[in-house]
Amino acid sequence: MPFSLKERRKLAFFAGLVFFHLILISLQVPKGDQPTYLERAFFAVFTPVQHGVVSFFKYLGGFWKNYFYLRHVQRQNQDMRDEIFLLRQENQAFRNMLLKFRNATEIQEQLATISRSILVCSVIGFNSSDIYKSVVLNRGSLNGLKKDMVVLDKNGRLVGRVIEPIFFKEARVQLITDKESGVGVLSERQKVIGILSGYADGKCLMKYVLRTNKGIEEGEEVSTSGFEGIYPAEIPVGKIISVSEDATLFKKIIVDPYFDFAELDEVAVLAVDLRELY
């Protein structure tokens, strides 16, 4: 049955849209780390909407919690006071330990720099296609965020790094669970070196450990090595949950990252390179 002129026009329009997408995809070959202008435009227009939605619900939640739902507040305050007390003791103990190696003024200056350089950010959006790839933060270039700044969870464990696009009040973070990410890591006991990248369903793969290497076991902790020049050394990353071998030269080492998606409400961005301080 022949198509009418109206139907032909519709088909031509549809073919044009498909062609537009194919061109758009082709323009990204080879795939670089810079987002396209169109992607930047969409991000710039719609992330403020996300920002607004999250702020609105935060405000509503805050209003409810601050003025109405005050059960257990006293108990929570007491728990927090206890925790602050313990953290102060711990902080003092670390300061005393540091004093053995450096003079007090130098340490005071460096600790002040560190505390000024930690930016607390809220996560306002997750990756729609695959949540384990990236998140969007509610801070951007106006707050001093720059590409490759390190992102930690509330317990100081590695989450990822800031990547493009970075706008005035929003920025994207590549998670360590993204397959395209790469983190230089070390195992806890034998200091076996590897590269960590995303694997599947929130797990990571520690790559390039030779199968002849016997110094790595399940249950070992993995931390950053600092060799790749982005992440400072000694940041806890995760725990090895399986070590196996296949036909390749390398072991297949699966790592369960420490950071928890359920607790990824707030993160800390290190606005300073810790390696410059120590």
Binding site: K10, F13, F14, L17, V18, F20, H21, L22, L24, I25, Q28, K31, P35, T36, L38, E39, F42, F43, F46, V49, Q50, V53, V54, F57, I124, G125, F126, N127, S128, S129, D130, I131, Y132, K133, S134, V136, I163, R172, Q174, D178, K179, E180, G198, Y199, A200, D201, F261, A262, L264, D265
Partner: protein, 159 residues
């Protein structure tokens, strides 16, 4: 003009829903894809050309919120919007059961095509969210059927 306004409201609602769902629990985004809801709703009500345009906009929007090849979700959703709109004009999908089955089939086809592109063409590992993503076509079919039937009945009562 009214259609454009409705489309804009639909897109903003999808962004709000995606944000709220992600904040409630990130794995919910594997099951509930608000961008697909909007594309399918407009394909059913305004047919193929409008569906394809909504597919392009919502797909590119989903791509901009994601890390990866920009345009994959755009292409997938454009195909979804056009196909769903065209088929819904050729056959009667208004009865509830037919509506659910039709939406289930097109949602599953969308998911399969998207995963095919991501896995075979771009070599990325499939993110199945522990199998949660397989529930996405069912959730999409139920939500869009519900929205479509509610709006249709309201309009009928209004007339």
């Amino acid at each position: 003009m009214k259609s454009l306004f409705e489309a804009a409201v639909g897109i903003i609602l999808a962004v709000i829903l995606e944000t709220v769902l992600g904040k409630i629990s990130a794995p919910l985004l594997f099951v509930l894809n608000a961008f697909s809801w909007v594309v399918l709703y407009f394909s059913l009500t305004k047919h193929e050309v409008f569906g394809a345009v909504m597919g392009t906009v919502c797909g590119l929007l989903q791509d901009s919120f994601s890390l990866g090849v920009f345009g994959v979700a755009g292409l997938t959703k454009t195909l979804l919007g056009f196909t769903a709109g065209l088929v819904s004009r050729k056959i009667n999908v208004i009865p509830v059961t037919r509506n659910i089955v039709f939406l289930l089939v097109v949602s599953f086809a969308e998911l399969a095509f998207w995963k095919f592109l991501v896995f075979f063409l771009f070599g990325e590992r499939l993110a199945l969210g522990g199998g949660l993503v397989l529930l996405q076509p069912m959730a999409t079919a139920l939500v869009v059927t519900l929205a479509f039937q509610i709006v249709r009945r309201r309009r009928e009562e209004g007339l």
